[in-house]
Symmetry: C3
Subunit: 358 residues, 3 copies
């Protein structure tokens, strides 16, 4: 349960400065790390801690290394992004510490004879895999996962307990889908078929069948209890390396561009396209049928009702203030047209006055 610095550099890159045979057994912050622990400097304001740390080794950027008074007798792995390096090493330690689960299908699982399950996959208790589904190598389906007919799960994916993937969906390689997420549920579409008005109205909402699927690229993570609807005709699309937090709703026929991150409780209505590398804040709402350019940032709690065609940061949320003060401002806002009218009247009155009256 240890790595030498040489082993880490071999696996994750970076240059070792100091003793490459130094062993580290875990990670810790600079000010707490001991001689067998690996620390990291991600923010230059903690540079002084590097001078005094007891850490066995420190992850540091080339630039920060040059700022040290001395590196004598210390060990470093020099890497342009110590924080990302830390994350990768942390994962490696977790993988060491996590009990391995033997491949195979739990006897309580219900797997259709026509489904294809890779030999290295782990199919947990009470999992259901329907006809024609394809489960890739090293996939892990935890307890009570449901995979609908014909759905494909890419190699190395991990679906946590209770995840439901409807029929006809494709999940890419190395997906992480947290518990309770639902992918491929019907999009919300109904044709009004009513006649008459008011109390005399009769008729019905007629369901629009949703015959598209959901297509998810590689390296996507999806949060707990998040929902992604299947498309009406074509697929809902989630591209490479999109990261989605908990309790997010993505409507039918949305397309989410690669590397975009979406924070918790956000909701995106149907047929909306979000560009690549966007950052959608928590509880943001985005209307249907709009397009967001690449690199758009929408701050938390904001609402987007029209397309945002230019890279930038967009906001429509107010921070909470004292309730009574807020109510006063809100009342004035409701009557802001009256303030405008009073300004107009004043402008007219001032203009009507003789300019010089001497």
């Amino acid at each position: 349960m240890a790595f030498t610095l040489e082993e880490l550099a071999g696996r994750f890159g970076g240059d070792v400065v100091g003793n490459s045979a130094q062993r580290v057994v875990s990670l810790a912050p600079l000010d707490q790390a001991g001689p067998q622990q690996l620390a990291f400097l991600a923010n230059p304001k903690y540079l002084a801690q590097v001078e005094t740390t007891r850490a066995g080794a420190v992850l540091i950027s080339p630039d920060d290394l040059t700022k040290l008074a001395s590196s004598d007798g210390r060990n470093f792995i020099v890497t342009p992004n110590p924080y990302a390096y830390f994350a990768r090493v942390a994962q490696a330690f977790i993988d060491l510490a996590t009990p391995k689960v033997a491949p195979g299908v739990h006897p309580s699982a219900n797997v259709d004879a026509s489904a294809s399950i890779a030999a290295s996959a782990v199919i947990g208790p009470n999992v259901t895999v329907e006809a024609g589904a394809v489960i890739g190598e090293h996939v892990r389906l935890d307890a009570n996962v449901f995979i609908g007919r014909g759905t494909q799960i890419g190699a190395g994916s991990h679906l946590y307990p209770g995840v439901v993937i409807y029929h006809g969906c494709r999940i890419g390689e190395r997906a992480i889908v947290h518990a309770g997420a639902v992918i491929g549920s019907d999009g919300f579409g109904f044709a009004p078929d009513f006649t008459g008005e008011g109390d005399a109205r009769t008729g019905d909402w007629v369901k629009i069948p949703q015959v598209g699927g959901v297509s998810i690229g590689p390296d996507v993570e999806i949060g707990a209890n998040t929902t992604i609807d299947r498309g009406a005709m074509a697929d809902t699309i989630i591209e490479t390396c999109v990261k989605i937090d908990n309790l997010v709703q993505i409507g039918h026929n949305c397309k989410i561009g690669a590397y975009t991150v979406i924070a918790g409780c956000a909701g995106i209505a149907g047929s909306t396209t979000i560009g690549k590398h966007c950052m959608i804040g928590g509880a943001v709402g985005i209307a249907g049928h709009v397009t967001l350019a690449d690199y758009v940032i929408v701050t938390a709690k904001s609402g987007v009702s029209k397309s945002l065609t230019k890279r930038g940061v967009y906001t429509s949320a107010f921070p909470a203030v004292d309730h009574a003060d807020w109510n006063k401002s809100a009342a004035l806002l409701r009557n802001i047209d009256k303030l405008r009218d009073r300004i107009r009247a004043l402008e007219a009155a001032v203009a009507a006055k003789p300019q010089g009256d001497a």
Copy 2:
């Protein structure tokens, strides 16, 4: 896997113009349809496409049919609502294409001996049906569905994987409940039982038992991971043909009127009554103990804190704009009372000046 126009008209109504023996095997948009496909004209702006389509037949309204230069050699089903007709035909094709699941109870299901399961119902793997529950004809309970004691599921309903219906609830005929939805969880009610203030406060929140149920009418659709709480004393009520999207929260003792639609991420606090034929936009929040009239529309992201007693469209959401611009406006709004005071001072100053000074 085909229908003649005559068969469709027999099943769904409408008048055939042209060759009633024409067969169609699927649906397609006007500009893509081939000679064995059925297209539809829902929006008159695409009328020109009807003149050039290669579709085997077109669904069209009587009014639009009269606008065509010629209908010679073409086939139509004439119906007042081509879009709804399209939806019904699409569903018929899906029903043809979807593998039939044999009625019966999966051996891994746990069904209490006192529950009543109709012979035509399909009870999937690992389903639990508790004592006294009643499962109607042609009901389909997918994997891991839970039906609490005494709960009734109306004929023709389909509950997707992992749906949980607590005890003592009633679901009407032909319900569609998507994966992960929870119906009948306890309403959020606690009696404060504290003494003292500040750091000296002691006591407890005492749970108010929730002994009502949830009563859901026929033809209701409920989205994935949506939650509907049971009532405190009386039932929470969802009337006929209400359509609810994903991740919606409906509090205890709400009553949602017939034909109302509620988009994703909306939340409705307890004891609120929403009229018939309302449209509640995505991420709308509605306070508890208020009443919305029939035909009220609340636009996405808005908040309703008081009753809305008149039919109309209601809004309180801002669209996101450039972050820096927004912050400037928000700061001025926070101080809008100072703008008002400056206007007042100006009005006083202007009024104090002699009106005519010649």
Copy 3:
């Protein structure tokens, strides 16, 4: 299925006035109660109903009792908090009426040999309990619950169907966790590891492993489909008697103070600390890394972006109004800086005028 007033007072406190042998078989409102029912007066405005009620007994405060014209021939339990007392009695009646479930492990459950299950616990169908988990006395795990390795569930807790608790979490005594809730899913944390800009950007989001757990105190209630993420390094903490409604998201490393209540659809981003006895309204959003003082109230739909260091009520939500009126106000708000400029210009013009010109 009845209690005498003496039995109730023995169990829940309070002083009996009148016939302590009076039996009650259920609860009812003052104006509907019959001679074998128990009513309660929580709001003095209904005092007149106490004079005329047919109830077998009434729960009343000492103060309200003195306001009655006469208590002759009537029965009371006098208690400082009749509403909380009512809640406790109601629960006692429910406990009487609810079928007892025999302790034991359902044959379809998957319990690891190294897990510890108290003899009085009820483990339902298809439950999974992983290695090293500890399930306390009288715990009830309903169908399809998942308990990850090493997780501890405190005595007397009830987890409803489909609840998922990841590995390494601790749930306190007497917890109520409603269906579909997910506790211990990974916090949302990724280190950016990109180089280049715009279309030339390459790289990846590197997952920050989440190695903390979730630690939940006693007497906590958690709503349906709510999600609580595990911490990155240290635990996410929910203190004693916190009550959380449905569809709430709590990010990694949050700390929620004792007795705080959080209404439905609220979202709290990571590393935020909320004080004790706070009330967080429905659909409130709270940013990450902020601190709320004890006794803070945030009204429904508001957003909190900065720490709130003083007890008080905070708001940033507008109530929905007529759509056209709102749009006018919103347009003026967007241009409120122009109103301010016009006021400035007026002030300058008025100031430039001679004050007295006679």
